[in-house]
């Protein structure tokens, strides 16, 4: 937020906030095409399951491999907005390729391009956010990022689902390409010279924008290691839950399951959209740890409830817990990373490391839960995820320190 911080400045809503809101929203919307619609589209184009599985696995691996290099690149580049713009363009190009050339090699390359673009996009958005608002009210601003990302992806999912059934799955990817235009326009509107012209204040200073500490020291920082483990456990405990539960709901409810599963997805998204800025504000006011504990605690609770409750309709309100976890995670990850890299400035590198840790946790979650569900049943899988969630909560409670830095009290 430009201009004076503190009470006097809080009432104003600079246009830069809107630009950042829209940027997050449209980028999330663009990314929605790549989640659910790629397998369906390729299936409709006559791809075999083996071929689809191959390109999706290749994309996942590429994404994991590019997390850390992507984060490192965003750190050392001095043109973070340009790089962000290029990565959005890259994602749009990827969607264009998929829509225009649904054949093996183009789709494979498109998905690889998308993976790399995504690894650059996420940290770049965080870096641009920190540069825009500084560290004083970072929590709330990050909460707004998460809010608008949730709104963007929710609206896009609805729109793209409609386009897929009314037009064709290909239309989804054309839509994704079109969404890049407002995203890039929103990015353009964040140019500092235009900001200053609008409300005449300098951008708030940050602690260290350029990387200066040693990478080894960063990785040896115990807080980094603990938080990495927390991130991995978070994803391990959470990622596979919905997939396993949804398959079970489909088995029980048949055709009506579609609506139920849609509710499973929508309820947390709504909660995230509503509560994320609040989570960010609380993290600034009362500290990171309480919010982290709250978010992490909802994981084992949710998994346990899924294991204990049979009626799928009752599971819909349980998904509120996923909303809590997602809101907390979405805000706290970039916030804690900013805290931990305050001195050494390697912010997006740490985001890349956490991204890799999370991706590994998610992959493990899917694999392990799948095996357990097949061998010992769905409830066993849920209890396993709940146990992992408990470990995560305990780790946060015992080993994760408070990372908030209280500003020194003003003299007089």
């Amino acid at each position: 937020m430009s201009g004076p911080t503190g009470r006097a400045g809080r009432g104003r809503r600079p246009v830069g906030q809107l630009g950042l809101d829209l940027l997050n929203g449209f980028i999330a919307a663009l990314q929605t095409a790549f989640g659910a619609f790629v397998p369906a589209y390729l299936s409709g184009q006559g791809w075999t399951q083996a071929q689809i599985g191959f390109v999706l696995t290749a994309e996942t691996i590429a994404s994991m491999l590019s997390q850390v290099p992507g984060g490192a690149y965003v750190d050392i580049t001095r043109h973070r907005r340009l790089v962000l713009g290029l990565s959005v363009a890259g994602a749009a190009l990827s969607a264009l390729l998929i829509a225009a050339l649904p054949y093996h090699l183009p789709v494979l390359l498109a998905l690889l391009l998308h993976a790399v673009a995504g690894s650059i996009m996420s940290p770049a958005i965080a870096a641009v956010t920190v540069a825009m608002v500084g560290r004083r009210e970072l929590g709330e601003r990050l909460g707004r990022n998460v809010r608008y990302a949730s709104i963007g992806s929710g609206a896009a999912a609805a729109l793209m689902g409609l386009a897929a059934s009314v037009l064709s799955e290909r239309a989804v990817f054309v839509l994704a390409v079109l969404l890049a235009v407002p995203a890039l326009w929103a990015l353009w509107s964040l140019h500092p010279r235009r900001q200053r012209r609008r409300h005449g204040g300098a951008v708030a200073p940050t602690d260290a924008t350029e990387p200066q500490g040693s990478v080894k020291a960063l990785l040896a920082d115990r807080r980094m290691q603990v938080f990495c483990a927390c991130v991995t456990l978070f994803h391990f405990s959470s990622a596979a839950l919905l997939a396993v539960a949804a398959a079970e709901v489909t088995r029980r409810a048949g055709l009506r399951a579609g609506l139920l599963i849609a509710s499973f997805v929508i309820v947390p998204q709504v909660l995230v959209a509503l509560a994320s800025p609040l989570a960010g504000r609380m993290a600034e006011r009362i500290g990171r740890r309480p919010i982290l504990v709250l978010g992490f605690a909802s994981l084992p609770l949710r998994a346990a409830l899924f294991a204990m409750i049979d009626d799928p309709f009752l599971l819909v309100p349980v998904q509120l817990l996923e909303g809590v976890a997602s809101a907390v995670y979405g805000v706290m990850l970039p916030l804690v990373a900013a805290d931990l890299t305050r001195e050494n400035g390697r912010y997006t590198l740490s985001l890349g490391v956490f991204g890799l840790a999370g991706a590994l946790g998610a992959a493990l979650s899917t694999a392990v839960a799948g095996v357990i569900a097949t061998a010992w049943g769905v409830k066993a899988a849920f209890w396993t995820l709940a146990a992992a969630g408990m470990v995560a909560v305990l780790l946060v409670l015992i080993a994760m320190p408070e990372t908030r830095v209280r500003p020194p009290p003003k003299p007089g």
Binding site: A36, F37, P39, A40, S43, G44, Q45, G46, W47, T48, Q49, T77, R78, H79, R80, R81, L82, V83, L84, G85, L86, A89, G90, L93, L97, A100, L101, Y103, L105, P106, L109, L113, A157, G161, L187, W188, H191, P192, L242, A243, A245, A246, A247, V249, T250, R251, R252, G254, L255, A257, G258, L259, I261, A262, F264, V265
Partner: protein, 165 residues
């Protein structure tokens, strides 16, 4: 030309006090490489599309008496009331090539919660419609969606409600 392009693009990324020209050019290089990569891909894709188009044209032009061709993979499957159940993802035959079953991804919402079931070949109905052939089944969709999950190699996982008659 690259200079003015760099200057234009520097509006996206010029941090205060930092000259953008050279840096923007450096950031542009990967973008140029990506675009260059696309040229052979587009060429390949166009060639492929031409072949596919020729094939489809030959099929559509087949006169009466020639067998129609129905491509199965990725085709949608419909229930008795016309509701969409899912998509065909595989086909199973016995060792002599006689069709045994089709494997279908059914149910769920936008890919979440879809189940993979194998339906016996006898359950399929090929419904002729003007200009197309529709794959359908006559049995209750909920039974299909609740059928046991398809396990490759296990004949018992093929759902066949008409067996034993």
């Amino acid at each position: 030309m690259l200079d003015s392009l760099g200057a234009f693009l520097s509006h996206f990324g010029a941090w205060p006090g930092i000259a953008a020209g050279r840096g923007a050019r450096a950031a542009l290089l990967p973008a140029v490489l990506v675009v260059l990569m696309m040229v052979p891909l587009v060429g390949m894709g166009l060639a492929r599309a031409q072949v596919a188009g020729a094939g489809a044209g030959a099929g559509a032009g087949a006169g009466a008496g020639e067998p129609e061709m129905v491509a199965l993979m990725g085709r949608r499957l419909f229930g008795p009331a016309g509701e969409e159940l899912g998509r065909l993802v595989d086909m199973l035959t016995d060792a002599d090539g006689r069709p045994l079953a089709v494997v279908v991804d059914v149910g769920g919402f936008m890919g979440i919660g879809t189940r993979r079931v194998a339906l016996a070949w006898s359950v399929l109905r090929f419904v002729r419609e003007p200009g197309a052939v529709r794959l359908a089944i006559d049995i209750d969709p909920d039974r299909v969606i609740a059928a046991p999950e398809y396990r490759p190699g296990e004949a018992a996982s093929i759902f066949n409600p008409t067996a034993g008659r």
